[in-house]
Symmetry: C2
Subunit: 217 residues, 2 copies
């Protein structure tokens, strides 16, 4: 059964692929599963029909027959569990790959989201400029640790996994901040992720929503 995901009807990031549907699209492309997309407006996201699917009124959601999921982490995990290609078969390696999914979402992403939200929430506040370096340093602390762990490896733990997919997408949110450029191995890691054919297909598909051009895939 072809699943249906939801994505933004109008793009807060102008198709740069930073919205969380990109994570799900990439996962589906890695495992070569077709999917349908339903676009929702900001207004619709807060209405009962969408809130029945997603209690926090966000995208993406994932519908597959009777099953309704939300949270990009849960959706990517669901895809990874049901199709080969995103998690190792061996039990311990699989548990470690899942660990990196949680690390991306619970350790790396929160301070990055905080930096990203500051201009929307606090740009007009007298403290805005003074707080930014503090937020950046908090992220730098995490990037230092991640960079040390990655070292010269291609991926976080052996072969590419759903953990890398999540981490690449979370780190991409730092684009434009100048922070990633301080870490040569993390920059190369991101480039490796974005060079994957599945990533490119997913990126083109989300971009096509905003440019009006049909994607090749």
């Amino acid at each position: 059964m072809t699943p249906t995901i939801t994505a933004f009807e109008s793009s807060p990031d102008r198709g740069r692929g930073l919205a969380r549907d990109m994570r799900v699209r990439w996962a589906l492309e890695e495992v070569a599963q077709p999917y349908d997309v339903r676009l929702v407006s900001f207004k619709e996201m807060k209405e009962p029909a969408h809130l029945a699917l997603h209690p926090f009124g966000q995208i993406p959601t994932y519908e597959e027959g009777d099953l309704v999921l939300f949270e990009s982490g849960a959706i990517v995990f669901h895809i990874a569990e049901r199709h080969a290609g995103l998690l190792p078969d061996e039990g311990n390696a699989r548990a470690r790959a899942i660990t990196w999914m949680f690390a991306a979402l619970n350790t790396m992403e929160p301070p990055i989201v905080e930096l990203e939200q500051a201009p929307y929430a606090e740009r007009d506040k007298p403290w805005y400029e003074e707080r930014l370096p503090m937020l950046e340093d908090r992220i730098r602390g995490r990037l230092d640790q991640l960079s040390r762990r990655l070292g010269d490896a291609d991926w976080l733990d052996g072969a590419f996994s759903a953990g890398d997919l999540m981490m690449v997408m979370v780190l991409r949110r730092l684009e434009g901040s100048g922070l990633l450029e301080e870490y040569r191995n993390l920059s190369a890691y991101l480039a490796r992720g974005q060079a994957r054919p599945a990533y490119k297909r997913a990126f083109d598909a989300q971009l096509a929503v905003f440019t009006g051009k049909p994607s090749a895939g």
Copy 2:
């Protein structure tokens, strides 16, 4: 094989059970698995031996033979996957329970951690007092949505699951803020979680580290 977890040697919360080892202890108690605990000091957490286990220098870690995991979400999931009692057997219900784990960690917890960290990071700043209501409103928005979804149910989706375990532990971090008290159903939900025998055994075990009294379990 009995797993070993790590926990704080000295307690930032004086044994209130808010440190993330409590999540893992509770999960292990729910599935009736014995475990060993190794206490680490703040100094040790930043040293190479611990960083080899946990790249971000935190607790808890989980060691079981050759397997080393970090991130409380990943550890609880690992326990839930290998032992009955924390995830439904039926596939769709299982995927929804996992969704609530991610929702607790990626949607609910980040703004709560931000409020919790503010006194440590910014109490001496001129903006500290003015920012607090903003942080609280951000959390209130999430609590509104969660409260609406929970309604009169005992648990978030059918029977108690690892998703509830995570959500209860994340919401407990709001104790003392006065925010939980605004939501009668969420307060009752927390009380239900804390009334579980497995919760109590886990709580007593973590408290015994700081009081020096051996736990009953």
